[in-house]
């Protein structure tokens, strides 16, 4: 862990951007998104699912700030409600993956050779499957729904966290302060919880931020294929797919959700990169 820089005078905006540029850009983007998602019912004046044949594929106007889609539904409202799905799936699946990975990773690092081999080789095996194929496979069996998306994506990202936690734990467990905790008779659970976990939170957070970006790519991809939450839910991937069929009619309805997905993933990637630089300057430029 690096010591926070001592700030002598108030830093200028320029300094801030140079040092924390990626995070400075990412946080407001994610904040807008979160506000839009949470406040969707209050902020947007339209029912996201109300069809209106007289307002098909309208250009942006005062009533419909981003215009309407090919069924006359208000695009801004659908985007705001779609943000709820996106953020919920991303947050819940990353939480599941991080929890599962932390548990498996620390068990693998602590439980002895046999258990370690079984856990880590299983993770290697899971990483051989292209995640979206495995997700398609599982969703076909379970049926498409938000909960199943969260479960599938969460489980698929467990191996990444397991690897990070495993290798960081192995690196830390031989350090003197861990040894002294062991000498004082602390149990393995206590050592992991009190001595090791707090010190490997940094790589876990970096991984979580990058995984959130991946989770959104995966969620939108599955929704695009029709394996996301069933209609009329306005998930962004499905919006791209539906508007794509009416591309001849108008290009705007497809551009908005495309931009929403890309900007959100970009924000999480920036946050992940920024956090990594901030928490571990050795990795800068990687």
């Amino acid at each position: 862990m690096s010591e926070p820089a001592v700030i002598r005078s108030l830093p200028s905006l320029r300094d801030l951007l140079r040092r924390y540029g990626q995070i400075v850009i990412a946080i407001p983007l994610l904040a807008v998104l979160a506000i839009g998602a949470v406040g969707a019912p209050v902020l947007v004046g339209h029912d996201p699912n109300r069809l209106n044949v007289r307002a098909k594929a309208e250009s942006p106007s005062i009533t419909h700030l981003l215009g309407t889609d090919e069924f006359g539904r208000d695009i801004l409202s659908r985007l705001a409600y779609g943000a709820r799905i996106t953020l919920l799936v991303a947050a819940a699946s990353v939480l599941l993956a991080a929890a599962g990975g932390t548990l498996l990773g620390s068990v693998a690092a602590y439980a002895g050779r046999g258990v370690e081999t079984v856990i880590m080789r299983t993770m290697d095996g899971m990483l051989c499957f292209p995640p979206i194929l495995l997700a398609i496979f599982v969703v076909t069996f379970l049926g498409p729904s938000i909960v199943n998306l969260i479960l599938v994506i969460g489980v698929l990202y467990i191996p990444r966290f397991t690897r990070v936690v495993h290798s960081s734990t192995l690196a830390i467990r031989e350090l003197e302060y861990v040894e002294s905790a062991r000498a004082l008779g602390a149990s393995a659970v206590r050592i992991i919880g009190r001595a090791i976990l707090p010190n490997i939170l940094a790589p876990i957070f970096v991984q979580a931020s990058l995984a959130a970006g991946h989770a959104i790519l995966m969620e939108s991809g599955l929704s695009f294929l029709g394996l996301g939450p069933p209609p009329p839910a306005s998930s962004w991937g499905r919006m791209v797919e539906q508007s794509g069929r009416f591309m001849q009619l108008s290009l705007l309805p497809i551009l908005w959700p495309s931009a929403a997905i890309s900007v959100t993933v970009l924000a999480f990637n920036l946050l992940g990169d920024g956090l990594r630089d901030l928490l571990d300057p050795r990795l800068r430029n990687r």
Partner: protein
């Protein structure tokens, strides 16, 4: 070298076994019952007799470990079962479709590697000037955009607006090479966008890392012109980690190809997979997933061997 080769080969075979095992048990852990699927789902309300018959036919009445062993045996001989819809051998369907997916993945890999390495080197050599941050942020955008968004935007631009290229479809190379290429351009571009960005970033950082080393200073000190330093000395060493990244990209492309084939109606493996979702033809789905994982293991093995070929330090470890 031989020792290294055999060790890697052994590890890959072990990994394949793990992969097959994961797939087998994930099928058996999932709540959906394949027997019900075969008989047409819950709605068809099959009788207990029918269920028992199909169960016996599939060998599902035997203990799990016996099923596992016989499944492993069949799969290792290339027998992936038969399609539930038309009773054709899954392996033959896969063999028909695989070349078409490769026709998409291989050009996309060549494209992303060529463009990614060039751009990465370009950005690294212009560090501190405007071109570097522009190239780097374009790359960051590149892999933040989902592959299907890139695909749809390409169609919107080049097919709908400009009318230059066909939006979807496939023409066999043997019938009409020019038509094949016209249909290939957009899907290959879509598929290579994110890998290009990742290869570019890796090349850039690896190039910068190498540039700071002593041997580069020596090369400059003995009076070599800058292009010779960059191309002959730095680039060759900087490409080592890029080899690994490109290998991983090929694995990622099989995933990206799922969506690209869907958008462009490219009749490869993944279109087969997606068609089988609606009919819940699970032997086919399982076959495609297994094949993708096997390809991934082999591509990684090949990558590691290439890496050992170009980097002697690995061989003698």
């Amino acid at each position: 070298m031989w020792k290294y080769l055999f060790r890697r080969l052994g590890a890959s075979v072990a990994l394949l076994l793990v992969v097959a095992t994961i797939l087998f048990f994930s099928i058996h852990l999932l709540p959906g019952d394949p027997v019900l699927l075969i008989l047409g789902g819950d709605a068809a309300q099959p009788t207990p007799d029918q269920i028992a018959m199909v169960r016996a036919k599939l060998g599902l009445d035997k203990p799990l470990w016996l099923q596992y062993l016989s499944w492993l045996q069949r799969v290792s001989q290339g027998d992936l079962g038969r399609s539930l819809v038309d009773d054709r051998p899954v392996a033959r369907d896969l063999a028909n479709r695989l070349p078409r997916t490769l026709q998409l993945v291989i050009p996309a890999t060549l494209l992303s590697t060529a463009v990614g390495v060039s751009l990465g080197m370009f950005a690294a050599r212009r560090r501190g000037r405007l071109a570097d941050p522009i190239a780097s942020s374009t790359a960051l955008m590149g892999f933040s955009m989902p592959v299907f968004v890139v695909g749809m935007l390409l169609v919107a631009l080049f097919s709908i607006t400009l009318g230059w290229l066909p939006p979807t479809g496939y023409v066999p190379f043997g019938e009409d090479p020019a038509g094949f290429l016209r249909h290939l351009i957009l899907p290959a571009l879509a598929l290579s966008a994110a890998p290009t960005a990742i290869t570019m970033r890796m090349t850039r950082s690896s190039f910068l890392e190498q540039s700071a080393l002593d041997y580069v200073r020596t090369a400059r000190a003995k009076g070599l012109p800058e292009p010779a330093v960059a191309w002959r000395h730095v680039l060759r060493n900087a490409l080592l980690p890029v080899v690994t990244v490109v290998g991983l990209q090929i694995g990622g492309m099989f995933a990206g190809a799922v969506l690209v084939e869907y958008i462009f109606s490219w009749p490869g493996l993944n279109t087969l997979l997606l068609n089988s979702i609606s009919t819940r033809d699970y032997p086919i789905i399982q076959g495609v997933v297994l094949l993708a994982a096997v390809l991934f293991v082999f591509v990684n093995l090949a990558t590691d061997l290439c890496y050992a070929l170009v980097n002697p330090r690995i061989r003698y470890e």
